[in-house]
């Protein structure tokens, strides 16, 4: 790809991010241990 004769060099620092970055996924919650039935209540 020929961009032609170089004319000048400069620095571009965008104020807004040009990349639509994905939101990081929420950290997975630890699985809740299943409650064992209380033998006192189960009667």
């Amino acid at each position: 790809v020929d961009i032609g004769e170089p004319l000048r060099i400069y620095t571009v620092e965008p104020v807004e991010d040009p990349v639509p970055r994905r939101e990081p996924l929420p950290a997975p919650q630890p699985a809740r241990p299943q409650e064992e039935p209380d033998p006192a209540r189960s009667s």
């Binding site: 961009i3 032609g4 040009p18």
Partner: protein, 189 residues
């Protein structure tokens, strides 16, 4: 203390990509290098040119400079006017390059930033990300590209607008864009 940047808006130019399939998803790929453009992350240019030793010219060494360097050809390339792109479309369908299976061509605008070398017809830049994409529905032989809708859905992963251009080849898409999109003038001071 760091030097203040010259501009705070990205330069927007035009590019042609190959459409390649990586991990089962259609992705943008460079015509001339093995680079597949990642989604949600900018491409950062590196110089892969080699320089010859003066006394032993058969020995090649990496240039070792950051891209883009003024006297090199490295950096992410983009053109100032969409009309310049027709030169870079292949004259015939190429199902494979030496690197990977090629599916199709994609035309698009690209945002450029970081260090930028400005030329009379376009730019070479350190960082780039697609800005808007046009996917021709026909290949260079005017055959319909199978699965173009699915490719467009995959390309939506880049998070930028994607257009499927029904009944148009890449050259026709470029011609249409050239009529409607004003050429961005290369900046002058």
């Amino acid at each position: 203390v760091t030097a203040a940047p010259d501009y705070c808006e990205p330069v927007v130019g035009w590019r042609v990509w190959s459409l390649s399939v990586a991990d089962g998803r259609a992705r943008l790929a460079s015509h001339v290098s093995p680079t597949v453009w990642p989604t949600g992350q900018e491409v950062v240019a590196a110089c892969d040119a080699k320089r010859r030793e003066l006394r032993r010219p058969w020995r090649l060494h990496p240039t070792g400079h950051a891209a883009p360097a003024p006297r090199c050809t490295c950096g992410v390339h983009a053109m100032a006017a969409v009309g310049y792109l027709s030169t870079y479309l292949p004259p015939a369908a190429r199902p494979y390059s030496w690197m990977r299976p090629l599916v199709h061509n994609v035309i698009g605008r690209v945002a450029l930033w970081g260090d930028v070398v400005e030329g009379s017809r376009g730019w070479r830049a350190a960082c780039a990300y697609p800005d808007e994409l046009w996917l021709p529905q026909l290949d260079v032989d005017r055959r319909e590209v199978a699965g173009s809708e699915a490719f467009a859905i995959d390309l939506a992963d880049y998070g930028v607008p994607v257009h499927v251009c029904d009944g148009r080849t890449g050259r026709e898409v470029i011609a249409t864009l050239a009529r409607t999109a004003p050429a961005r003038r290369v900046t002058t001071r």
